[in-house]
Amino acid sequence: MTEEPKSCPRCGAPLGREVGGHGVCTACLLEDALPTAEGLAGSAESPDPDADAPVVQRLGDYELLEEIGRGGMGVIYKARQAGLDRVVALKLLLAGEFAEPRVRRRLVREARLAARLSHPGIVTIHEVGEQEGRPFFAMEYVPGPNLAQRCRDGLLPVATAVRYVEQLARAVHYAHQQGVIHCDLKPANVLLTPEDHPKLTDFGLTRSLLDPTGTLESAGSPNFMAPEQADARLGPPGVATDVFGLGAVLYYLLTGQPPAVGASLSETLRAVLADAPVPPRHIRPALPVDLETITLHCLAKEPGRRYASALAVAEELARWRQHLPIVARPASRLELLLRRARRNPLSAALGAGLVTAVVLGIQGVAWQWRRAEAEKVRATLSTPWEGLAPPSEVQGAAVEVGDVNGDGRPDLLVATVEDGGLAVYLNRGQGTFAAAPGSPWLVPHPRRGQDLDGALAVGDFDGDGHLDVALADQTTDTIRVLRGDGQGRFGSVGEAVAVGREPRGLRAGRVNADPYPDLVVANWGGNTLTLLLGDGTGRFHEAAASPLATDAAPWGLALADFNADRLDDLAVAHSGASTVAVWLNNGAGKFTPAPASPWRVGKDSASPGESCPFDLTTADLNRDDLPDLISADTRTHSVTVLLGDGRGGFRRTPQSLAMVGSAFPRRVLAGDVTGDGLLDLVTANESGNLSVLRGDGRGGLVPLPNSPLFEPGPVHGLAVADLDGDGRLDVVAGSPFFGVTLTRNAVLTRRAR
């Protein structure tokens, strides 16, 4: 066999594991069949002897004239209604889709509701019926084109686009007042009349297709979908969903593309949930800023942050059209009031009154300030780090930061998934990293891929002044210690130490009175904690009091001196029980539950199992020099702060529960990332982004907008450190398949300059 070329001779793509020696890549081989497939699509219209479908040209009263459209739900015909001699559009839904009578009834009920709508901006439904088990709708015939077709030859003039969407918004508002929600606003659902007025079609049809949780089960193209339609946990679709839809249509008309794009359905859904749409002016720079603001305000991920109604959108667009200031940015409310007052002093004085104006002004300023801060942090955390292209072997992983070679710069330590071991990246300064010579170090027993949450702990275990590493191995249920030589090299110490089943959490701290670091291991599979006492040589043996039996599976683990006796106590997150339990250290390596332990986390009203505390960390958030506990809850998307009283007790305040939007916070760490001298929290989320919760210095939290930073997927590792030496905390995140991502805190850079 001759040696195969490294790249496809036809398309130049690199040749990977190709089926057989065909010379070209799989894609090119598949492409060969495309003309055949296309021929098939074309011939599908021609009669097929196998086809057993009836030939029908009439449907009840209707004489079918021609097919004018076809979609996921069915086929639309132009038809003539014999009795009334009018031309209608007849939408025939495919039978199988509504095979279930319950679904069919719901559809018909909703459609009948929609049939009551009478508005110039809405395609009228004349009749809702059933023919041989297939629901059909006779609608007002609007020749079109639809808005998607209208844009095919190029972008519309901005004024036209605005007029269309304003008219649509008024129609949508009318429907909302009648209790009908559209839920599938997109350019293809907007038909243009010969007089160039937009008319919305398919009212009341889509919602029937929603499953009970409110998500669109069968959406073919989710490009225009609101986040709450992509993920039912964000709440039920409602008025805000249509406000989003109006924004999506406006976005499309202004930019020529939908707000969310992805190469595949799931990628698009991900974008719907996680990615902020590209600002329209990035696509079409000449667009007015205010229009961009209006569009993005409609497209806010959180339903509550959008315009409150479709009417508000219409009025906003009308204001823009009339060159009046828009209200989309409450940030500029003061400015707006001033401007309005300048322009129209009488109405401002009459309508608002000085006191109101001042109050609004102050609120506006406060809002503006918060918003500016939020924007700043968003900018801060979305600057991609340049310098480290994660090699594939660091796929997926727990990460820690520490100075392994004594040069004063924090280096990266990564537990790797595929090959099982430790990869080390040395900080070369200026934000560049290089793999340490000899890295990665594989543990003798090759480890399978696994969840590596908390699988890594660092500390000077052998007392030589250099950082060492402990790795938890779920395959063998052991802990391995790798000793660092202070040059960036690591080597195994002794045998692996057996621990309980499925060690997931590993923390270093001081469990007994001797000065050597000890290890505590949360055995997720065994409902136990293993206490490993260090002897100062890098070796560990199990404490007499170990293992501690826990009430439920232990996930997150935190060690701190909660009762001010200079010994590390233990806190454990029990996801199954929705609680955090605290064990106090009695000094002899023995632990007893704290008096009021465990504490509930997540929402107060949550019953056991409703919240799911996963990661746990400790920090002094309220500046009383006593450690507090922070639990990240993957089920209720929240972070709870438990304020320590220094006696092993904890309390919550209403401000100490913060939601992180749609994200599942899988890891949480404290650090002053906003640079105001107060500790903030950074969460790394299952959905693949980071959230920052700003600390108020009293244990309260203020969520800041999510900043999508890297590709989605479970984030297994999080570390916060000043990696580029500019005095601000940067973020390191380890994801099981997108490797390690570094995010530089750019606010600092700006300020430093």
Binding site: C11, P54, I68, G96, C612, F737
Partner: protein, 247 residues
């Protein structure tokens, strides 16, 4: 725009996926059999995807089986509609939803039995890791790996059928012909192959032409099993190509 209406649209020709779609989540022996056959054919891309998501071989095998068990138990089929998308995208969406749930629950649920699930266990044990082992060199994202594995599965199945057809005719030419499948042949090799099959160059070229044509037909048929109607084959193929070539 279509011409004057001749008839209502034909029912979807019976592709496996259209049978599943038509059942729309209702319990149907026919739909289950069709779905099972599809799963039998396309389990590997899912396994590879789960593996690349960071799960170990045992976990991935468990998850794959549990997913298929749920799939065959109709757990995801509710709300399926004719025209409701293609098998490939349906699977990936369903799988993602399943993985999030599985992850949130933390612990694996006991999977349902059934002979297919049992046979799947054996298949995964036999081939899953062996095949996945060859993927480790690539740095593909799970998503991309899935698409690639899907394309390769599709191609492999097509070639299997092509080989089977050749063999059924007592035709030993498949081994020679397949290396010319791409059409990227150079003349000396063609002449050489013709000589080996004891054919004139012209006859060989004509045979090759038919071979390639049959390959394309079979591939289209194979793709057709995973979509709701024949009119969607081209779209599915284009979608797959786009997924393969992006990134």
């Amino acid at each position: 725009m279509n011409g004057p209406l001749a008839s209502l649209p034909r029912q979807f020709t019976t592709t496996r996926w259209s049978v599943v779609l038509r059942a729309g989540g209702a319990d149907s022996e026919e739909a289950r059999a069709a779905l099972e056959q599809l799963c039998r054919d396309y389990w590997y891309p899912l396994y590879a995807y789960i593996r690349r998501k960071g799960h170990g071989p045992e976990d991935a095998a468990d998850l794959t089986q549990e997913f298929f068990a749920k799939l065959l138990a109709n757990d995801f089929a509710q709300g399926l509609t004719p025209g409701g998308g293609r098998f490939r995208s349906f699977l990936l969406t369903a799988l993602n939803r399943f993985l999030i749930n599985a992850w949130q629950k933390g612990r694996r649920q006991k999977r349902g039995g059934g002979t297919f699930i049992e046979s799947l266990e054996a298949r995964i044990a036999e081939r899953g890791e062996a095949d996945y082992g060859t993927e480790t060199a690539s740095a593909d994202t799970p998503e991309r790996l899935f698409q690639r594995a899907w394309a390769e599965t599709l191609l492999a199945r097509t070639l299997e059928r092509l080989a089977a057809e050749c063999h059924a005719r007592g035709d030993g030419r498949f081994a020679v012909l397949r290396s010319f499948l791409s059409g990227e042949e150079d003349p000396p090799a063609l002449a050489d192959a013709a000589a080996r099959l004891k054919l004139s160059l012209a006859a060989f070229k004509s045979l090759l032409h038919r071979f390639r044509q049959r390959y394309r037909e079979l591939l289209v048929e194979e793709v057709g099993q995973t979509v709701g109607s024949t009119s969607e084959v081209a779209e599915e193929l284009r979608g797959l190509l786009q997924a393969l070539r992006s990134g």
